[in-house]
């Protein structure tokens, strides 16, 4: 299973790099810098997906109290924070040549930054709180509350109606900002690749955490 997933990730990544840098045509208005879209949007997608899965697994943990769900939650948070950092950095790099500024106080950007701080709060809480079931329960509550901020992030552009580009693909996309066929296909393939990488890393991390947990239990018994 582990080897198959890693092999799939490698193949998909190679195809993805080819699609982004060779196959897809350069966008007329923004030029080569627009290619960052194929990295930025999937990273944003992963950071959102991670917090949703984190909230779901946290709810399951609170209901079942099985440690496996807590291990999956931590793994999601760890991958999610990396994706959030990637999303913020790629967004900043993209914003400068397109908007003329590195950062603006616009709602969508601010809420994306909040998401990063929520991941930070979750992981910092876990590392400072004494280990035990109460830490896991409290962390699960933080994750659920943090995930409630996610709709604020996704719909911030609609709620606050400020000067951020509208959603370019999916059910909420407007006709004017829709991507063309090749560009949309590349973006979807990139999102798929990043999702596969996300699930692979979460799987590997969870596996590692289960082994670590078993070792701790064994050491306690010994």
């Amino acid at each position: 299973m582990r080897r198959i997933l890693v092999l799939l990730c490698t193949i998909f990544s190679i195809i993805n790099v080819y699609l982004i840098f060779k196959w897809v045509p350069t966008e007329i208005n923004q030029g080569a810098i627009q290619r960052i879209l194929y990295i930025h949007v999937p990273l944003a997608w992963i950071s959102m997906l991670a917090i949703i899965i984190l909230a779901i697994t946290s709810i399951i943990y609170l209901v079942t109290k099985k440690p496996i769900w807590d291990h999956i939650s931590v793994s999601c948070a760890e991958v999610g924070i990396v994706a959030a950092i990637g999303m913020l950095i790629s967004g900043i790099v993209w914003a400068k040549p397109v908007w003329g500024v590195w950062w603006t106080g616009e709602a969508k950007l601010t809420t994306a930054l909040i998401l990063f701080f929520i991941y930070c709060a979750y992981l910092m809480f876990r590392s400072y709180f004494p280990a035990g079931p109460l830490r896991e329960k409290s962390a699960a509550v933080i994750a659920i509350i943090g995930a409630i901020d996610t709709p604020f992030i996704y719909f911030a552009a609609q709620i606050w109606e400020q000067n951020h580009p509208t959603i370019v693909i999916g059910p909420l996309a407007t006709q004017e900002s829709n991507l063309g066929g090749d560009l949309a296909l590349t973006l979807l393939f990139s999102a798929l690749t990043f999702s596969l990488i996300f699930f692979t890393i979460v799987y590997l991390q969870t596996r590692y955490k289960i082994l670590e947990f078993k070792l701790e239990q064994f050491q306690k018994r010994a």
Binding site: F117, M124, F125, G132, L134, V141, G146, I148, D149
Partner: protein
């Protein structure tokens, strides 16, 4: 019902009495927010800026920062005296313990806000005595108290509560902070209920989401 209400009254009275004896919460929150306001007002040239634009941001940010410092004080007595266990074994609903903490934090924050608002009127020359702003303050303070009461309870069993609480509390209350700043700014500049209503709706929605969630999760995080 009558028994629950009298128990709630006693719990709130206990918290407020302890606070009025020690004055830990009010003094720390008040001094910290005043310092923040004065530092901001000294570092920004208010003569070249519109105080109606800059004032609400400084005011609400300072209240949010100081609330994050003050909230652990409400729970610190329970931690120092180990009284939480006694509270948990008393034959009252756990929700009442949460409500008492929420209302105590709310009352204490409102008291400090009255003093901070009065001083802000002098420092920034802004008209804060406005029914819209009073409603905005009540909604915002209720949101701060709800989230604060939940996260404060989480921090009882850790030694780093004063450091961890702001890290947890501030990202979660940012939507509320944006609401408070945005709506206060509109209220000061336009004094128009119609323009403030979408913002007030946002603040109320936030509270409607976080209030039941906080009640639901309080019991889960308070029992080991």
């Amino acid at each position: 019902m009558k028994h629950s209400l009298s128990a709630l009254g006693y719990l709130i009275w206990k918290d407020l009495l302890l606070e009025f004896r020690s004055k830990e919460f009010i003094v720390s929150v008040l001094i910290f927010s005043l310092l923040t306001i004065i530092i901001f007002s000294q570092s920004i040239n208010l003569t070249t800026m519109n105080p109606n634009e800059i004032g609400p941001a400084i005011l609400w940010v300072s209240i949010a920062f100081s609330a994050s410092i003050g909230i652990p004080k409400i729970y610190s007595k329970e931690k120092e005296e180990n009284t939480l266990e006694s509270l948990l074994i008393t034959p009252i609903s756990r929700d009442l313990i949460f409500f008492s903490k929420l209302i105590s934090i709310f009352i204490l924050l409102i008291i400090t806000e009255i003093i901070i608002f009065s001083l802000s009127i002098i420092l920034f020359n802004i008209q804060l005595l406005n029914p819209i702003i009073i409603i905005i303050s009540l909604i915002t303070t209720f949101g701060y108290s709800t989230v604060g009461a939940l996260f404060g309870a989480m921090m009882i069993r850790t030694r780093s509560s004063e450091f961890l609480l702001p890290i947890l509390f501030l990202p979660i209350i940012i939507p509320l902070l944006i609401f408070a700043i945005g709506s206060t700014e509109i209220a000061l500049q336009l004094n128009d209920w119609g323009k403030c209503l979408p913002w007030i709706g946002l603040g109320i929605t936030y509270n409607l989401i976080f209030f039941p969630i906080s009640i639901f999760f309080f019991e889960k995080i308070i029992i080991d």
